[in-house]
Symmetry: C2
Subunit: 286 residues, 2 copies
């Protein structure tokens, strides 16, 4: 029998929450979805678009009778919401989230007493667009979702949360929350900081018009993330501070080596970096 | 009357040279194009594809009677070729190039005695593909070509070389060679080094399989240049050493600031970088 929840409360009907609601309903895994959010127009839009079955601006009443809660709000707000969820749901209700930093959120779930029935998740799908209007029923298709069970997570909870993220189309990878955070610091948070730095530096102290004219396709592609939301990334940098700072220090060290090699005309050292780059990038496929 | 050359010798029938030959012939600006290169199969392909009118593996004889020479070979080979061109062409023959570093090439042209009739050029068009088989008659369309006249460049030579790059579809920007090199160090060479560093670092000392699974669309887009040709970039780093090292040092300094801000949880400093990034990136348009 495939996974099925009778009353799913999605807290945060932004891109991720609304897309999961729509995809889960289509797959038959979510019988009734309640969308909870602060902004009335965004909730109304989710209802109009048929992404959710009902909406509420108040979390407490919405949680009554829920057998699944998905917290898909900005990462810094997840912990306090988990406390409310712990207080207002029955012991049979499973809880998951969609935050891109996992260890602090999993710790918050344990502290809230949700350890057994909480399984953290990070669907690696995003878009420049936000809000329920940007929802995409196929958002998770062919994407990775990382789940990070804690030491107390019930095995059947882990299996059901895994299945939820699978039925909406993603491939599920199970990882320790700390490992997840250290790796995404490198694969996601580091590139974002690099792009912010590059775009901030490019015009600084130079003739901005000339700089703009000499921006080619390479710069454009490399900096696709240059307009990413500051609020979201400040929160991620805050929540994953240690791992991000470590990744940035590691990058700084390699960068210093490369700069010294450029200055010294040390072709062998530069070539080694370029070849490592090519090997890894090529291994990613298209 | 539009620009027209009766016998154009394109030295290096790679992507840029072969595309220019094809586009210049179509526009009626190049009456007869001789493709010169070292590799017979590449020359044969250019002839088969109708990109050039004739081909030669020997530069000297091909130059006889030329009224335009376009040097579109790897940047480190341009200077010695310019010496040969100076010795074997008439004083009426104009000379241009397509190198992505300009000051050393323009200096080489002056030293070779070509100062009056040489106008350096950098068509900002490229592709991951190489060789005449990758030629694209529309490669320069809607792209910028920078031309860098020297102090001795004849104004009519400048006008005709400008027109050549315009008739193949590019917008021409005239810049001092040193300014060009300093700006492309930031807009082109710096992002390339960043991408090499990121892709080289990502798997290092980590479980490579986990890293690969946690690579999302952001990393993929940011690192499109990760497999760029090492030989070409080693040459560019060598030829534009001073400007690239300066740009890398400037980046390192901003990066240190950002890292300190992450460590200290200094939101205001990070936000300022993110907002500068957004402003510049947004100003580039689509």
């Amino acid at each position: 029998m495939s996974v099925r929840f009778e009353r799913c409360v999605v807290v945060g009907t932004g891109l991720i929450g609304a897309s999961l609601a729509a995809a889960g309903r289509r797959a038959g895994a979510l019988a009734h979805v309640v969308g909870v959010g602060r902004k009335r127009p965004n909730l109304d839009r989710a209802l109009e678009l048929g992404l959710v079955d009902s909406v509420s601006q108040e979390l407490g009443p919405a949680l009554s009778g829920a057998d699944l809660v998905v917290v898909a709000t900005p990462v810094l707000t997840v912990a306090p919401i988990l406390e409310q969820v712990a207080a207002a749901t029955s012991p049979d209700c499973l809880v998951t989230d969609a935050g891109s930093v996992k260890a602090p959120i999993c710790l918050a779930a344990e502290r809230a007493g949700l350890g057994r029935r909480f399984v953290g998740a990070h669907p690696m799908a995003g878009s420049a667009d936000t809000g329920s209007a940007a929802a995409d029923i196929d958002l998770f298709k062919d994407r990775i979702t990382v789940i990070t069970p804690g030491p107390d997570s019930d095995p059947s909870a882990v299996a059901r949360i895994r299945e939820l993220w699978e039925v909406v189309g993603s491939s599920v990878v199970e990882l320790d929350a700390g490992v997840h955070d250290a790796v995404v610091a490198v694969t996601s948070h580091l590139p974002q900081m690099m792009v912010f730095a590059l775009c901030a530096m490019a015009p600084r102290g130079r003739d901005e018009d000339v700089v703009r004219r000499l921006v080619g396709q390479g710069f454009r592609d490399t900096t696709r993330l240059g307009t990413s939301d500051a609020r979201m990334w400040l929160d991620i940098a805050d929540l994953n501070r240690e791992a991000l700072a470590a990744a940035m220090a590691e990058f700084a060290s390699l960068w210093d080596d490369m700069r010294a090699a450029v200055e010294a005309g040390d072709e062998a050292r530069l070539r080694a970096v370029m070849e490592s780059s090519r090997d890894f990038k090529a291994s990613l496929g298209k």
